[in-house]
């Protein structure tokens, strides 16, 4: 990138502030973004990253301050207005219309028409042109419901390009991608920047930011801590800026259970949707990591054991001999708790209070003759919510008023209230910032030390390496490798997860 001349910034924010209710989400933030650069925004959850992104993209209107685009003050009232100024946003969860084809999705709202009819041949041609310019290998004629998250994001990127976007805001675009998809996206971002498009890249992953961005801005509690070229930053320096203090270590020390620890769960040749023939044992006090690519069957295995998906063959048995996998209610009653993958879709009930959300699976214990004992409920909820350090204005307010990290902690509080013997956590640190991550790790380690058996589906390799006592690697619904102690390394996990598939008997 050309750095020499003090070129006028493409985008400028001057003393921008935004508050929601009593919370100051952004406090006098000023920022300059150069044309053609990748500008990363990092910070803890609730630091104001997304708010900043939304203001730039027109999804939110600032309370105070000014936004300048090419020295011209702009005030976007909606994403559409932003788009007309060639500013586009790509959300973490892509918005596509599942029934329409990829090409139709990309050109949605600007299809070539004649007399009200879509000129489909022309649409296809325009799509092909776009995809070629962007260098994407994505067929235009398949329907969007067949795409994975990464490909859906490509649709969104193409959509932005088709509107000739010069500035693209990406809000944690890699949060739900696996390693291969992530590196694809990184290539795309680099190519876009090289062709003069400016990218604002919001991310939790510091390694990614350091490898990808030209400039990085750190936010903390809605305030700007610093903006610096990434070449002068490192992971520790960014963490220190985000937290306001240095972080000693990402993971707590490991303390594997004794070899004679009792087995609390044995899974034998379990088959279910997306799971074929999984067998393993879990010991009390053990943290067992499930590694593998997205779609390898880890989530499906967890859900089948918990009883959220039907068991097709084989079984999962508790130490008591009770079979698992019947239904979630039975599993909870037998002391098995699940922390689901998506807190919004599968975990919390938006619209209901934090207290109600945390006591839901144990309401029976907090009631007499079917009538809820409100005071006992409040007391029990408050206790576990405080133990999990959930911070929010009021536990009686709807749970969605909490920040993302705190919502995740509500799921942990709920799990605690179930006093489980086995915890299955599906990517519990996804979309959670570094400070909260460490407290979730500490929490899991503490649970294990009390004799709880833990199965954790790891979103990142480091997590499997840093936290798990033993790692099972899954591929195509099967457990293909088991690693213990020093064997748990990045290369061993990757080797098993990506193993040469031609060596296997072909599935078809």
């Amino acid at each position: 990138m050309a750095v020499g001349e003090p070129e006028a910034p493409y985008l400028e924010l001057l003393d921008v502030s935004k508050h929601f209710g009593g919370v100051q989400a952004l406090d006098n933030v000023s920022l300059e973004v150069r044309r053609g650069s990748v500008h990363a925004i990092v910070g803890e959850n609730g630091a104001g990253k997304s708010t900043l992104g939304k203001i730039v993209a027109g999804a939110l209107i600032p309370d105070a301050g000014r936004v300048l685009l090419e020295q011209e003050p702009v005030a976007f009232g909606s994403p559409r207005e932003a788009l007309e100024h060639r500013v586009a946003a790509i959300a973490q969860e892509p918005n596509v219309v599942p029934q329409l084809s990829v090409a139709e999705n990309v050109l949605l709202g600007m299809e070539p028409v004649r007399a009200g009819f879509i000129r489909s041949r022309r649409l296809k041609r325009r799509y092909a042109e776009l995809a070629r310019t962007a260098g994407f290998d994505l067929r235009g004629d398949i329907t969007a419901d067949r795409l994975g998250t990464a490909e859906q994001q490509k649709v969104e990127i193409l959509r932005a390009l088709s509107r000739d976007a010069q500035l693209i805001v990406m809000d944690e675009p890699t949060a739900s991608l696996d390693a291969r998809e992530t590196s694809q996206l990184h290539d795309i971002v680099r190519a876009l920047a090289a062709s003069g498009t400016t990218i604002i890249f919001i991310s939790h992953f510091l390694k990614e930011v350091l490898g990808l961005a030209d400039t990085v801005t750190v936010l903390r509690d809605g305030r700007l801590v610093k903006t610096a070229p990434t070449s002068s930053e490192s992971e520790p320096s960014l963490i220190e800026a985000m937290l306001g203090q240095p972080l000693t270590s990402t993971f707590p020390p490991k303390s594997p259970p004794p070899a004679d620890a009792p087995v609390v769960l044995s899974v034998r040749d379990l088959h279910g949707p997306g799971v074929s023939g999984a067998s393993f044992e879990l010991r009390a006090g053990e943290i067992l990591g499930l590694a593998g690519l997205v779609g390898a069957g880890r989530t499906e295995l967890a859900r089948t054991i918990f009883g959220a998906e039907p068991v097709e063959a084989g079984d999962a048995v508790l130490a008591t001999g009770r079979p698992l996998g019947l239904n979630p209610r039975r599993s909870l009653d037998d002391g098995v708790a699940l922390i689901p993958e998506s807190r919004k879709d599968e975990g919390l009930i938006f619209g209901r209070s934090t207290i109600e959300n945390s006591t839901l699976p144990r309401l029976g214990r907090l009631s007499v003759l079917g009538i809820v004992r409100r005071r006992a409920e409040r007391k029990a909820a408050r206790e576990v919510l405080e133990r999990c350090d959930v911070r929010g204005a009021s536990f009686g307010a709807p749970v969605e008023t909490l920040s993302g990290g705190n919502q995740q902690k509500v799921l942990f509080a709920r799990m605690l209230l179930c006093e489980p013997g086995i915890v299955i956590a599906d990517e519990p640190t996804r979309g959670v910032d570094i400070g909260a991550k460490r407290s979730i790790y500490d929490f899991l380690v503490e649970l294990a030390s009390q004799g709880v058996g833990i199965v954790i589906i790891c979103s990142e390799l480091e997590e499997a390496i840093g936290l798990a006592h033993r790692v099972l690697v899954m591929r195509r619904g099967r457990i293909v490798d088991e690693l213990e102690g020093d064997e748990i390394t990045e290369s061993r996990i990757l080797a098993a997860a990506f193993a040469d598939q031609s060596a296997e008997t072909p599935a078809a």
Binding site: G21, A59, P79, A89, A91, N95, G351, E356, E400
Partner: protein
Amino acid sequence: MATSEASPSGRWISAESARGWGARFLKRGGILIPFLALFLTLSLVSEPFATKGNMLNILDQQSATLIIAAAGTLVLVAGGIDLSVGAVYGFAAVTAANLGLSHSAGFSFAVAIGAGLLIGFVNGLVVTVLRINSLIATLAMSFIITGCSGLMTGGNLLILFDKPAFADLARTHFLGVKTSIWVMVAAVVVLALLLSATTVGRYMYASGGNAVAARLAGVRVDWIRILTFTISGAAAGLAGVIDTSNVLTAQAGNYETLTFTVLAGIVVGGTSILGGEGAVWQTVVGVLFIALIGNGYLLLALDPLYEQITLGVLLLAAVGLDALARGLLRPGAAIKQLLRRRPRAP
């Protein structure tokens, strides 16, 4: 449940829940303000309105609607909708009257209410086991039930004027108030407590708010839904019995006007058609609000055609308010977008 949104950044906006408590109050207790305003206005402009006789008369006329609407609130909160209540109401009425020709009043009433309960249970099974959308499932059931009612009566009006015992359920006076009102009050209070104070009620909110999450948290969502439909069927049965006892005649029919008045009352009261939110007391106020409008038109001798128009406007306002409170609706932005030209393709 996740709904797909058309606008490219729709999810961004709706995920943002920074709607103030003002909107939440409007949603939960909002119906009280227009209700009280209307009540006061009618008291001032109409001499006979605020009399004990008129009040009791309104309650008596609304008892069937209130019972069904209170139960329907549970169905909506748990994420369903029951369009068969009118048909079940009619079925219970003709069942009771038909049996009453040869059996005792008590027996006839019990069988009729039991039939409503059973139909409700079947509704629940169809919706949960066969996974048929409850709107369509209960609409289909309403045709079936109406047909059965017609078969039972052969299209005749059943008359029970010679069975005075039949009138005891609704027309006995207790403390100066008709028993139809007492039965209604009892049913409504029980249903209100069921929804607001019990574990089952909590599970209804959870099932309607997010069925997937509720199931993973150990709520037996299907059973809860079946329960709400069963209660709704039983309530429609009870309502049919009460009205038969009141008028001593019964006729087969679909009673779709009743179905839609019930639904209107629930929604005007502020219970969300999307599930997960609402309360029985709100429904009571909503139903009575609609009844007051009718009563006002009657007492002031206004053209009843305007009553329909008023009701329609009210319904739209109620649903709009719901969307506003959920953050799904931003009228300013929507209007602005409507007025804008399509962006030009580059």
